[in-house]
């Protein structure tokens, strides 16, 4: 290879930082005092403080996972668990502090684009700094706010569902999030309401050694529809940051929820996320999950098909460049009969990057007439790249059709030759093939995200072949 692969951190255009500006920052490390302090500053009810402290206890007792990616680089005592960037949340863009506004402008969420979205939320460090929702939706009873506001202003709905899909003792990082959560989105779509335009949230870590622990709760009542999109970035520091979110979705009968994530953290973020949805009768839940950034990602969006006729879909793409490990996957649990699911995973490893697909498909004994298909394709671009596939399948019912297929290969010589014989350079041809490889994913994205993703992939591919 004539040209060495470029240092990817140089290409990471979101790697700037805007200096540490905050109005409050909790001391480093984790203790009941820090947790209590977060809760007090948020003026939370007593039950939430109790919830947090219990979760902290559980986090301390639970061992680190012995499987998956290498997490030995995380020093839990060297992390800021709560950083408050501004006093008040902005309702209009003008109210957002200048520095933060500049950041989001540089991230490319211009005012014009925001107009086309039904609602926008922007989280900076631990708190949501900007938030808006279209008036007509508000009138229909759609709630879209940060989770802290959800707890404060809509306690009856919030408490009913919070922590019911992912209890604090689910896993070590869900426990951590439950103890120190802050920000995130709270979405409530009333019965019969269809939110035709996506709601969008943007997450940004700015402080070095910062941990972001947003908490998202989406409730879609009967016959409703909502599409929620989130994007994530962080500056490139020498010290590692931690992002550990919890996302809970409840799709009531006949509801349809689509959740799209484009994760583009910088290459020093540990991204350890628990995402789970409960799908009731004839509802549809879709996770569209793109993982490009981070140092290590461990994320397995899951769907519990609890109601008859429910359908789950996970479509994911992972791209691991030098030194990155994307340990991503999907989990679908068929509890009810006549449920169906589809999992499609595409992963690309470049340089010394490593992608792992880790899946779990379970069919309970009473879930008859279940259909599920799992497809994992991996593309390896360089000799040192690595790809793993671990798809667990537990089938306890007889009346099922389960299929799983996985392939791992490199970019086809014939495809390359074909393109090159038409005058396209090897690098461009490879990028085209990679873009074609992830096409099933890209076509599910809103236009601006699809363009951005293609641009990011091209950027990552630069200098990859010589």
């Amino acid at each position: 290879m004539a040209v060495a692969a470029k240092d990817l951190t140089k290409d990471y255009k979101y790697g700037f930082n805007d200096g540490d500006e905050f109005v409050f920052r909790a001391e480093r490390g984790l203790s009941p005092e820090v947790v209590a302090d977060i809760s007090r500053r948020k003026s939370e009810p007593a039950w939430m403080l109790e919830f947090r402290l219990k979760a902290l206890e559980h986090f301390r007792q639970r061992p680190m996972p012995s499987w998956g990616a290498d997490l030995s680089g995380i020093d839990f005592d060297d992390i800021y668990y709560y950083v408050r960037p501004a006093e008040e949340q902005g309702r209009t863009w003008d109210e957002v502090p200048e520095g933060i506004k500049r950041t989001f402008d540089r991230l490319g969420i211009p005012e014009a684009e925001r107009k086309f979205l039904a609602g926008v939320s922007a989280q900076y460090e631990s708190e949501v700094v900007y938030h808006s929702i279209r008036e007509d939706l508000e009138k229909l009873g759609v709630l879209f706010c940060d989770c802290d506001t959800g707890l404060r202003d809509h306690p009856e709905i919030f408490r009913k569902y919070f922590g019911t899909v992912i209890p604090p003792n689910d896993n070590k990082f869900a426990a951590l999030n439950s103890a120190v959560w802050s920000g995130g989105s709270f979405v409530y779509v009333p019965k019969g309401v269809r939110v035709e335009i996506p709601l969008q949230a943007y997450f940004r870590i700015n402080t070095e050694s910062m941990g972001q622990f947003e908490r998202t709760l989406i409730i879609a009542e009967e016959d409703s529809f909502v599409h929620y999109i989130e994007g994530c970035t962080a500056p490139t520091y020498s010290k590692d940051s931690l992002h550990s979110a919890v996302v809970e979705i409840i799709a009531m009968p006949n509801a349809h929820v689509r959740y799209t994530t484009i994760q583009n953290w910088s290459n020093n973020v540990y991204n350890l996320v628990t995402k789970r949805a409960i799908a009731k009768e004839h509802s549809v839940v879709e996770w569209i999950d793109g993982n490009l950034g981070s140092k290590v990602t461990m994320k397995y969006p899951s769907i519990y098909l609890m109601g008859e006729g429910a359908h789950g879909e996970v479509l994911s793409v992972a791209f691991a460049g030098d030194g990155q490990h994307q340990d991503a996957g999907a989990k679908v649990i068929h509890v009810a009969p006549n449920t169906t699911s589809t999992i499609v995973s595409k992963s690309v490893s470049k340089g010394t990057g490593r992608t792992s697909y880790r899946g779990h498909l379970k069919v309970y004994p009473k879930a008859h007439n279940v259909r599920s298909s799992v497809r994992c394709d991996a593309l390896l671009l360089d000799e040192q790249a690595r790809s793993d596939t671990y798809p667990y399948m537990d089938v306890e019912a007889q009346d099922v059709q389960i299929g799983h297929e996985a392939t791992v290969s490199k970019v086809g010589d014939e495809q390359l030759f074909y393109l090159q014989s038409r005058g396209i350079s090897e690098q461009e041809a490879t990028a085209m093939i990679v873009n074609g490889f992830i096409e099933p994913f890209v076509k599910e994205l809103p236009m601006e995200y699809a363009l951005e993703l293609n641009r990011l992939i091209s950027l990552q591919m630069e200098g990859s072949v010589g």
Binding site: S349, D382, M393, V395, Q398, D399, K410
Partner: protein, 454 residues
């Protein structure tokens, strides 16, 4: 569980009482001591701690110390169940050598190579390991190192019967070698088989793992295979253990340059089993085909774990494993394709298909890939489902009864596997065993249980 682990520990004295007829050569005694140390060091496998055992909790309650170990008898007579197998269908083929063992060690081998030339050097374990020349020191405990797993350590410590089969450079013995390993009467048996094929040699080997019904017993064979450049081993395994037997088997093979390793397994017996088939593609251009089938009924539990480890470049490995589970039986399959750094131009495939014949039957399938090279083609596929209604309808519309139709479809499901057995007696025997087991399923009504919709 701690108690189980404690009581299954062997004392040094106990270990030293296990030796081959005529005594262990010094290198083997040393290997046994090392294995004993490794055995003591490792905790007993646990379904909650060990990924390998997660779906086979039977291991938690198993204690090898609960099985008796009778005094060795050099060259005893085979008991009736072994004699019946010896005289069975497989004796009608062109058999070049026979080695028989049970819990007491190697038994009289009634049939030695007849007029076939050149004959493979098939010896019982004691004769083989004591022989001059040190052929086996590079195989025993090297292909399957003690300490790798509890069962390999235990086999190394306690083996007193088995076989050593050596085929010299370029030799191609006619017919096949038969190895029969049995266990009975509440005993545990740990047969060890060592196979070494020199450059360009080829051999067909048939192993039978056997035990009588209604006898609680433990059979834990370890097979070590070493194939030199261009060698070709066809290795057929028939597992026809009794319904109270626990089987713990390990087959490991080091495959040299352009060598070919063909494994076929047909496993229909035992109460529960854990079987490892592990192939290491150490030589460029080697070729491995692992093809097998299991039929589960009642509460049988088949746990099969395979490894295709591509160390050298340009090797091919293919695995095809089909399982039908009836009644409350369960299949657990885990298969790893691993491509090591630098093993470019690898072509590897795993296919596991599971047919669920009853609503209470279960099949877990977990094919995995770990790929550390990029210029590869690695694929796996896995399916689970019940008998296809369209196929049933097709058969029934042609006048077949439902039971007959279902039996035919299951038979067809196994056809690819059965047809891959070496032509002749071995294939016929494999087919016969499958048909027999389907016959039994049909008799017990296990095939008749149809879908909920029917």
């Amino acid at each position: 569980m701690t108690e189980t682990a404690e009581s299954s520990q062997l004392t040094r004295e106990e270990a030293s009482t296990v030796a081959l007829a005529g005594g262990d050569p010094p290198w083997l005694a040393a290997l046994r001591q090392a294995a004993l140390a490794a055995y003591r060091e490792a905790p007993w496998p646990s379904s909650t701690r060990d990924e390998d055992w997660r779906r086979t909790p039977q291991i938690d309650k198993l204690d090898p110390a609960n099985f008796t170990e009778p005094k060795p008898v050099g060259d005893g007579e085979p008991p009736p169940y072994l004699q019946a197998a010896l005289d069975g269908q497989l004796s009608s083929g062109k058999v070049s050598a026979v080695v028989v063992s049970d819990e007491r060690g190697n038994l009289q081998s009634p049939l030695r190579s007849d007029a076939t030339t050149p004959a493979p050097a098939a010896l019982d374990l004691a004769d083989g390991l004591s022989a001059e020349g040190g052929v086996w020191q590079s195989v025993a405990g090297i292909v399957a190192p003690p300490g790798l797993r509890k069962w390999i350590s235990l086999n190394t410590v306690r083996t007193r019967g088995g076989a050593c089969i050596h085929v010299g450079k370029g030799q191609e013995p006619q017919g096949y070698v038969r190895l029969l390993h049995g266990v009975s009467q509440g005993s545990a048996s740990f047969p060890r088989t060592l196979i070494k094929l020199e450059e360009g040699a080829s051999l067909t080997l048939v192993e039978e793992w056997l035990s009588p019904d209604a006898d609680a017993s433990l059979l834990a064979p370890v097979v070590e295979v070493e194939l030199a450049r261009g060698a070709h081993l066809t290795h057929v395994v028939f597992q026809a253990c009794g319904d109270q037997t626990v089987l713990q088997s390990t087959v490991r093979a080091n495959i040299g340059q352009e060598a070919r390793y063909d494994v076929r397994w047909n496993m229909l017996g035992a109460a529960w089993q854990k079987s490892y088939f592990e192939a290491f593609m150490l030589g460029e251009g080697s070729d491995t085909r692992l093809v097998g089938l299991c039929v589960g009924r009642q509460r049988q539990h088949y746990d099969v774990q395979t490894l295709q480890d591509h160390v050298a470049r340009g090797a091919v490995s293919d695995l095809l494993y089909r399982v039908a589970v009836a009644d409350r039986s369960r299949s657990v399959y885990a298969g790893l394709i691993r491509v090591e750094e630098g093993a470019q131009k690898t072509n590897a495939y795993v296919q596991n298909r599971n047919l669920l014949l009853s609503p209470q039957a279960k099949a877990d399938s977990n094919p995995t890939l770990e790929i550390l090279a990029n210029d590869v083609r690695c694929t796996h596929g896995s399916t689970a489902g019940r008998i296809d209604d369209n196929q049933l309808f097709y058969c029934e519309s042609r006048g077949m009864g439902r039971d007959q139709a279902r039996r035919l479809i299951v038979e067809g499901f196994f056809a690819d596997v059965v047809d891959s057995f070496p032509e002749g007696v071995l294939r016929e025997c494999g087919r016969g065993l499958v048909l027999e087991s389907l016959e039994e399923l049909a008799r017990s009504g296990a095939l008749a249980s149809s879908s909920r919709t029917a």
